[in-house]
Symmetry: C2
Subunit: 489 residues, 2 copies
Amino acid sequence: MNNLNDKNPKNIYTSKKKIIDSIIPMEKDFAKWYTSVVTKAKLMSYSEVRGCMIFEPYGFAIWENIKNILDFKFKETGHENVYMPMLIPESLLNKEKEHVEGFAPEVAWVTHGGSEKLSEKMCIRPTSETLFCEYYSKNIKSYRDLPKLYNQWCSVIRWEKTVRPFLRNLEFLWQEGHTVHTTPEEAIEETNKMLDLYADFCENFLAISVIKGKKTKKEKFAGAEFTCAIESLMHDGKALQTATTHYFGDKFAKAFNIQFLDKNNKLKHAFQSSWGISTRVIGAIIMVHGDNWGLKIPPKIAPIQVVIVSITKQNEILEKSKEIYEKIIKYFKVKLDTSNKTPGWKYSEYEMLGVPLRLEIGPKDIKNNQIILVRRDTREKVIVPIDNIIEVIFETLDNIQKNMLSNSHKHLNKNIITIKNYKEFKEIAQTKTGLIKTMWCGSALCEEKIKEETGLTSRCIPNEQNFFEKNCICCGKKATLVIYWGIAY
Amino acid sequence: MNNLNDKNPKNIYTSKKKIIDSIIPMEKDFAKWYTSVVTKAKLMSYSEVRGCMIFEPYGFAIWENIKNILDFKFKETGHENVYMPMLIPESLLNKEKEHVEGFAPEVAWVTHGGSEKLSEKMCIRPTSETLFCEYYSKNIKSYRDLPKLYNQWCSVIRWEKTVRPFLRNLEFLWQEGHTVHTTPEEAIEETNKMLDLYADFCENFLAISVIKGKKTKKEKFAGAEFTCAIESLMHDGKALQTATTHYFGDKFAKAFNIQFLDKNNKLKHAFQSSWGISTRVIGAIIMVHGDNWGLKIPPKIAPIQVVIVSITKQNEILEKSKEIYEKIIKYFKVKLDTSNKTPGWKYSEYEMLGVPLRLEIGPKDIKNNQIILVRRDTREKVIVPIDNIIEVIFETLDNIQKNMLSNSHKHLNKNIITIKNYKEFKEIAQTKTGLIKTMWCGSALCEEKIKEETGLTSRCIPNEQNFFEKNCICCGKKATLVIYWGIAY
């Protein structure tokens, strides 16, 4: 990423003023703020195909960092990577009834290969359960073959009607884990374990506070027994589901005939899970952390963690900047900007890109053997001695990471409101954004009624079930669950 | 990869004899030998879709190692990763005449999205020149925006008639670099530089000796001014092109209107290159190094570099094996196999998988504080003291890597024959495999005549042009080039 700006002079950013002017404040129009940030921070570009975006180097580098960390965690927990074909014959997609009903309306169909019409049309994978199941049905014979803990990184296509960069696209990048087990308990354990892994990743790497929970039957994955999800809260008070894990029971195993001989030589159907996280999570990073100066990238996944800006082109300043660059490049992802642009231009540019830490070096600093540190999260400026700069950067990046998580956590908690009365629920739904916590009887009828009358959908049934009322918020009958409602991306 | 076998007991490998029996000797039937190795070494499985294979964990791990090394080298040389959509609208594919003629007959067409017919059909990328060019035409304005040095890792689809695992598939994985420059010289330099990078990678990491050269006009990439390639020679004497780089001149820039303002404020068309290597290279690894015991994976890309086999299940042997595992796992990719399978079974299994180095530990070895080392390349057995085992492994893996390259180099040189007489050429073409080196006038007529009369195609015009005759081997007119002919995969 070293020459990002030198190679891509952005003509629209000709002065500091121009950049700042060009972002629409999020308080004014959150959707427009979002769109201006994703394009101006050069995360993506629009392509010729509706809903298929181009990942620019800076946006793709963030995804690569996310991918590398997760891939390490998956392997550490015993998973192996494979790659399945991108095409699914129609007959294969049709094998599990609920699954095909959920996905068939939104797939891209390949009908011709070269100049010939195919005898059976094929879809581009919207997800790969059917391919994995077909493979497993052929390759699993005995309990000794289990568990199978496979994962793949790939792109998928879903023919969405409305699209938004990162949040909803026809094509997106993701990973999908598909596992097979001898018992329901083991498959459920995997479903929960991977939810924990995703939640831990979101909090400790993306600095995004999340709620872990189950989706309602209405909101679960097509074909799953149940779906777990982590929900996070954006700056505008809307919720975003950042990752999901699914327990399939033996439904797919029965549809695809995935059987194994157990220890007593009895033939049994296997139990499965699947789990995924996609480039959508980049949308969450933007909307949880960003502000009116642009992105804020958490240090642990930042393509550039530290930028060094030389304030003037004086030789001794250039030399000192270079010297510091050489000193810290072994420890951090650093960019040195000695270009001719004005310091103001550079400050705005790297704030837009969300670079966690900026070092400024001017004539006065050299004289005093000091350097100016500017944090992106607080925009706080401090002067520090050059000598122990490495320790200071380590500490500051660590503080930034923690502070970003703490802010996300505070924002989430501040925007959860517990409601015990349906009239109040309806009022609050009109006037406030955020998550509403209520008791619920568990019936789909109440869920639908609430959606109709308030516009809110169920977000998740949190793992922590602390009952605070006896009755369902909607029908007044016996409550069985604590649940969150909200408006979702 | 640690539990590869424990998790995947392979029922067909029930005894040492059975494994060895199950490979068809390469001298008997090379094609069948190849197919039995790719499946028995668990590199891939066949899928429901003709020509789309499944990358099994072991095969995919090899690709991941290749990818990681190359990705590092690309970034080190200033390239950045991006991701373009997988779909190309028909009108976009049609923009460059030669390119569309080359690729349109072999693409998969998407005609429907969900239940609706598309107003314009789209193909799944067979390669992404058109997408990159469209992007560049919008994003390049000035010489300051250049060079653009972008790369992407993705899967592509080409609707091939005949298919073979890794060598020719409907879908394969690859990387494609696409660069834009201000001058032809700079774009040509990039084309040559990337060819050198690929050649260096093949020799120093894959231990495959290669010839660098240019393709003839007939064999070049559809739309390129010229194509460079590296050619390698398989055990059966057939050639395999392992990577290509293309110089486009300003042909695509003119078709897609990629223009920039130069330093004198004049509008100019840009010059481009592209370059790629695919999962096909795994086919080369198999066919250059493999033998009748199975794969031989070069240590530098091996998912398992060292396997430790405990010969009996005695406690002290298991403990010692574990102790050695703990000692060396920090330095190498190691698998410890303490399963109940017989030593013979294990030996055959890891030879099949091509694990470069096997350590055997038995009761006698513990008594003598020694260990048995077995090299996969030479199948040579040596007894070494346990104490300086780390140094010995480093040295042995290094020797294996070097020896494999040396063997590939010898095989290549032994199978190049220089011919000055057309009658002899025709005879040799019928009786011997390998590469035939001749002089050539450069005309497509001679190239076609040779193909018709001998069955051989031009492989490449080597960078090293040491003329050894004045006349073309075919027409007898003035020769302008040294060229290699052969049968290719």
